[in-house]
Symmetry: C2
Subunit: 141 residues, 2 copies
DNA sequence: TACATACCTGACTAAAATGGTCAAGTTTAG
DNA sequence: CTAAACTTGACCATTTTAGTCAGGTATGTA
């Protein structure tokens, strides 16, 4: 299972972006400063978010990034998928030599991981960027 | 978040053990052969399982390991905890310099990870070794 | 048209985690 | 007394992570 800082940074950056993009595009520099994430690293992350059409970029002076969808339509699944955080608990499939190829001779625990994956993915599919923004508003009252 | 082969191996080995320990203790050698897990690695894992009182060891010829509890009382939580698979999604606390110390200035996504952790842990707390054994019987009919 | 600001790309890397192996025991049934 | 089995701890190759660095390219504004 992979669920690391990259995914977390992506979410943090997008929540930040969502809060400020009403008026102008938001520069990575600003996000970098506000969220304490390395600018270079942010660029890698946003490159992927852009490819997945989660954000749009606006070049030039006063440029930056803008959300490409309604915050309610951006689910966490989409974000993690974009930055290659695979919510794969365990890869049995690589180990075809060893008896678990997902077909006839599943390893004893195969079903378990399938179940878990579904369990986690459901969580992410039901959580949108908008939910996070709201959560955050509440917390900072 | 950590959820890797070690945890999977632990579960596989215990399911295997549970199926064969009615009569005699089960040697790691047998488990190693049946589940294709390195014997040396199994030893590391069982050392931890023993410390956590999930299994008992019986030394000498014809020795081996036996479950120390009813399969129904061994929850997945216990197993993962024993082998140091921490279901910690993201450690914000290490980064106290950077604004998220879990106290006053939580990082924007802090609540999210807390929620996720609870979500996953609930899954593991409700799943016992016995459930897995039953699942497995069904699948192999 | 210059130039600063911002995006864009790819190569590189230190440190940590992973998934083990290896060596050297100790214990006990037969 | 010896082989089978547990026990302990050091060691290590590979992969992943979380970035850095070095160069670009595009474009709004003065």
């Amino acid at each position: 299972m992979k669920l690391t800082s990259k995914g977390r940074y992506a979410v943090m950056a997008l929540v930040d972006l969502a809060r400020f993009d009403n008026i102008n595009p938001v520069s990575l520099r600003d996000i970098s400063l506000r969220q304490s994430i390395s600018l270079d690293y942010l660029e890698q992350i946003f490159s992927k978010l852009k490819k997945n059409e989660i954000v749009k970029s606006i070049r030039g002076t006063q440029g930056g990034y803008v959300l490409n969808k309604n915050p309610n339509d951006i689910k966490l699944t989409n974000i993690f998928h974009a930055v290659d955080e695979k919510v794969k608990t365990v890869q049995c499939k690589k180990e075809s030599k060893r008896g678990c190829n997902g077909k006839a001779t599943k390893c004893i625990t195969h079903n378990l991981w399938d179940e878990l994956e579904i369990h986690i993915n459901t969580f992410f599919e039901n959580k949108s960027l908008e939910d996070l923004i709201n959560d955050n508003k509440e917390t900072r009252v």
